[in-house]
């Protein structure tokens, strides 16, 4: 059996969480950026998409203390390169790289180089360079770097416990983030009945799907026009879609089972319970109960699971 220091497991778990979060932050900004491209004059979209970003990243208070208004420029500057904002992509990459630096022994050279060169490049960016490059290009770049890091870990890391903790971080974070991205729609449009089924509505759901790389997946999976219920079904319950909550929790139960340390009983129980809910749940019931309520409850339970993993394995005993 491999020996893994609790501190190392902690670094690996957070390294992958932070990178996954950076990727999803880019995805969230990307949705709003796309939504902001709607034809001028559609009043229901003005402004709302950028407030939504702050809502779902839990960063509204921090933002409003520093900026008067949630304009595209302000939110993007706050969420991308701001070193003072701990949830900016810049800060997330820096923190992930610090974890990697402390864990050079536990990761492969390829993984380190993927993270380190991302950090070197982003620390060299300025607001002006970012604007010149184009926001969309920057978001794509961040996604690519995250893919490169994850890909190199899958392709080069020993399949031991270190790997399991790294993967665990990816899926716990991704499940959380997918739930939050789906919730964007709730924050942007508290249903203005007249919009339901309109071109704007379609455009927004489409933007959301694209932001999680699911636009084509949706059509392959459902072979029908985009409807809110089916989009939610894809992102929550569809176990074939790798960013869905169900898919993430399929991975989490297996990983916790592989690890199964002496104090891991409660984490395994909570994960099993969440997994059963995603495995057997139905989207109609979710909509009856309220999508936003369902997602908030999921995010809380997913967080509790993370704390349990933390105290069972990652904190020095």
């Amino acid at each position: 059996m491999t020996i893994v220091l609790s501190r190392s497991a902690d670094h690996l778990y957070w390294m992958s969480r932070l990178i996954e979060r950076a990727e999803n932050t880019a995805r969230i900004l990307d949705v709003s950026d796309r939504m902001g491209l709607l034809p001028a004059g559609s009043e229901s979209t003005s402004g709302g998409e950028w407030d939504a970003v702050l809502e779902i990243t839990g960063d509204a208070a921090n933002f409003h203390a520093r900026f008067p208004e949630a304009t595209a420029a302000n939110v993007i500057s706050h969420m991308t390169l701001d070193p003072e904002n701990p949830s900016s992509i810049y800060s997330l990459v820096r923190a992930a790289r610090e974890n990697a630096r402390a864990e050079r022994v536990g990761i492969t050279t390829e993984m380190w180089e993927a993270l380190n060169s991302t950090w070197l490049e982003i620390s060299d960016l300025t607001a002006a360079k970012l604007a010149a490059r184009g926001y969309r290009n920057f978001f794509d770049w961040i996604k690519e770097r995250s893919h490169l890091f994850r890909g190199s870990s899958v392709a080069t890391m020993l399949r031991d416990e270190r790997y399991h903790f790294l993967r665990l971080g990816t899926f716990v974070e991704r499940a959380d983030n997918t739930a939050r991205i789906l919730d964007v729609k709730y924050h942007i449009l508290l249903p203005d009945i007249s919009d339901v089924g309109s071109a704007i509505d379609h455009f927004q759901w489409g933007a959301l799907l694209r932001s999680v790389s699911a636009y084509r997946n949706y059509h392959h999976a459902y072979k029908q026009a985009i409807t809110p219920v089916k989009v939610a079904d894809l992102l929550i319950f569809n176990s074939a879609f790798p960013r869905s909550l169900h898919s993430c929790h399929n991975e989490i139960v297996v990983l916790l089972d592989e690890i199964s340390g002496p104090r891991g009983g409660e984490a395994a129980r909570q994960a099993g319970e969440l997994h059963a809910m995603l495995h057997y749940g139905r989207i109609e019931a979710v909509f009856q109960h309220g999508l936003h309520e369902f997602l908030s409850d999921f995010i809380n339970r997913n967080n509790r699971l993370s704390s349990e993993i933390q105290s069972a394995y990652l904190v020095a005993q």
Binding site: M1, I3, V4, L5, S6, R7, S8, A9, E98, R101, A102, R104, V105, T109, W112, E113, N116, S117, L120, E161, F165, I259, G261, P262, Y313, L314, A316, Q317
Partner: protein, 476 residues
């Protein structure tokens, strides 16, 4: 030995090329400067991507820097290396015998060869070590001996690093990068490999496990990511395949040391610690240390764990004890030193002090316990004001300083902004000791990149070079 003329390792004292540098000289003549520049850029990218950086202390915020790498290798012949190797082994054997002696029967003191106060009032002397028997009687498992060359066969030892010598990762990575950039250079030479260093280190560490432990677990203990040599700690742990631990990862129970892991405690038998004595155990040494492990000293004294290097080796590597190493070689081995010491003036002695104060502009003055090139005076390079300020420091506490003549460090061809030029170098070979000792053929060559400068420390703007030891004399 201090003269205006320097020994150049490529040309010797003449205009011809020495045999060892034959191929290098032809290579230098055949490659256009533009290509060297491109290769140097490539090397820098490689180092940065590998994350080979060090932290510079003393600035407002410590920053990560790259140590400049010079792409022209330094070449030593088999004969030159053999002299260095024998000299280093001799020193390590004598110093190890000295450490065992002063922490046991103190015969060298009783024989009057070393004054008792030089040992027992030395702040690095550790009374906790008195009477303690260590596996293999080994105190200094890893040493780095700093040498300078002043002539064809003339080498001087500048200092013995017996506590936590660093820099070996540069020796290994420099070779790696050179082989990647200039593979054809290697096929034209027979160069002794250095890349088995981590494996040798691991073998030696395993050999000194506490008695009775057949499958020892080794760990490397680091002060953490803010230590200037953190990259090296990671590198060595990785290469050896051992855990890199910090104080908080370890705890002591029933005189044994354990790591905290995801599956509960795991016993550690040998700790290659890159943490200074003072910070090892807050119960025994510095109570404010958060780097250490409470109870580690007690476990060590009970024989539950081996530390490499041993506690208390610093007593033998300060700049005052250095002057006694030739006596140690004579006393314990009955031999004459193979490598010479640099004549050293002890400023605690009134005669020496007066002599040195008259010659501050031509000597080098160092703090007795200093390291890393911090806080030293290089007389010939210092301004009048700097000399005056340093004089005041000496007078305030003469016993804290030693002085040495300014050595004519040899030069090697080095790539500079204005093409290839001679720059001064030193050499740090590494000696590993478990139950016996080996010197890995090579070492860290540090080069003073500033024209005329004699200070090679990386913290003072020095760079490094790959160091080649040629096998079988001349190139086939």
């Amino acid at each position: 030995m201090a003269s205006g003329k320097f020994f150049d390792e490529m040309h010797g004292d003449s205009d011809t090329v020495r045999d060892a540098y034959d191929a290098i000289a032809r290579w230098l003549a055949s490659v256009p400067a533009r290509e060297f520049k491109a290769k140097r850029k490539e090397a820098e990218v490689l180092f940065r991507r590998m994350g080979i950086t060090f932290l510079v202390y003393g600035t407002a915020e410590s920053v990560e820097r790259l140590i400049p790498f010079d792409i022209i290798p330094r070449v030593l012949t088999q004969e030159e290396w053999s002299l260095i190797e024998r000299g280093c082994l001799q020193r390590v054997h004598a110093i190890n015998a000295f450490l065992h002696d002063i922490y046991h029967d103190q015969e060298i003191v009783k024989a009057g060869r070393i004054p008792p106060e030089a040992v027992f009032t030395n702040p690095k002397y550790r009374p906790e070590m008195q009477g303690l028997d260590l596996p293999g009687d080994t105190y200094i498992h890893i040493t780095g001996i700093d040498l300078v060359r002043v002539g064809e066969r003339e080498f001087y030892v500048i200092e013995d690093n017996l506590r936590n010598p660093s820099g070996v990762s540069y020796m290994l990575e420099n070779r790696e990068v050179m082989m990647r950039l200039f593979p054809s250079l290697f096929s034209g030479h027979r160069i002794a490999p250095v890349n088995n260093y981590p494996e040798l280190l691991l073998q030696n560490l395993r050999a000194v496990a506490p008695p009775g432990v057949t499958q020892p677990t080794v760990a490397l203990m680091t002060p953490g990511i803010y230590n200037s040599a953190y990259f090296e700690h990671v590198f060595l742990a990785d290469e050896m395949g051992v855990e890199l631990v910090e104080g908080e990862d370890l705890f002591v129970k029933d005189d044994h040391v354990f790591m905290r892991t995801t599956h509960g405690p795991v016993q550690v038998d040998v700790i290659y610690r890159r943490v200074d004595d003072e910070y090892l155990d807050p119960l025994a040494f510095n109570p404010d240390s958060i780097l250490g492990v409470p109870g580690l000293l007690a476990a060590y004294r009970a024989g539950g764990v081996t530390l490499a290097n041993a506690i208390g080796t610093g007593v033998a590597d300060d700049k005052a004890m250095y002057t006694f190493v030739p006596d140690m070689i004579d006393f314990y081995l009955g031999e004459a030193p193979i490598l010479s010491n640099v004549p050293t003036w002890q400023l605690s002695k009134a005669d020496d002090l007066a002599y040195v104060l008259d010659r501050l502009h031509e000597v080098v003055v160092k703090e007795v316990g200093g390291a890393g090139g911090y806080g030293m005076l290089v007389g010939p390079a210092a301004s009048k004001a700097e000399i005056a300020a340093y004089r005041a420091r000496i007078l305030a506490d003469p016993g804290n300083f030693i002085a040495q003549p300014t050595l004519s460090l040899s030069t090697c061809p080095t790539f500079t902004e204005r093409g290839v030029a001679s720059r001064h170098v030193d050499l740090r070979p590494y000696v590993l000791t478990g139950t016996n000792s080996t010197v890995v053929p090579g070492g860290l060559t540090r080069v003073a990149l500033t024209e005329g400068s004699l200070v090679v420390n990386s913290s003072q703007g020095g760079g490094t070079k790959d160091t080649w030891v040629l096998r079988g004399g001349r190139r086939p």
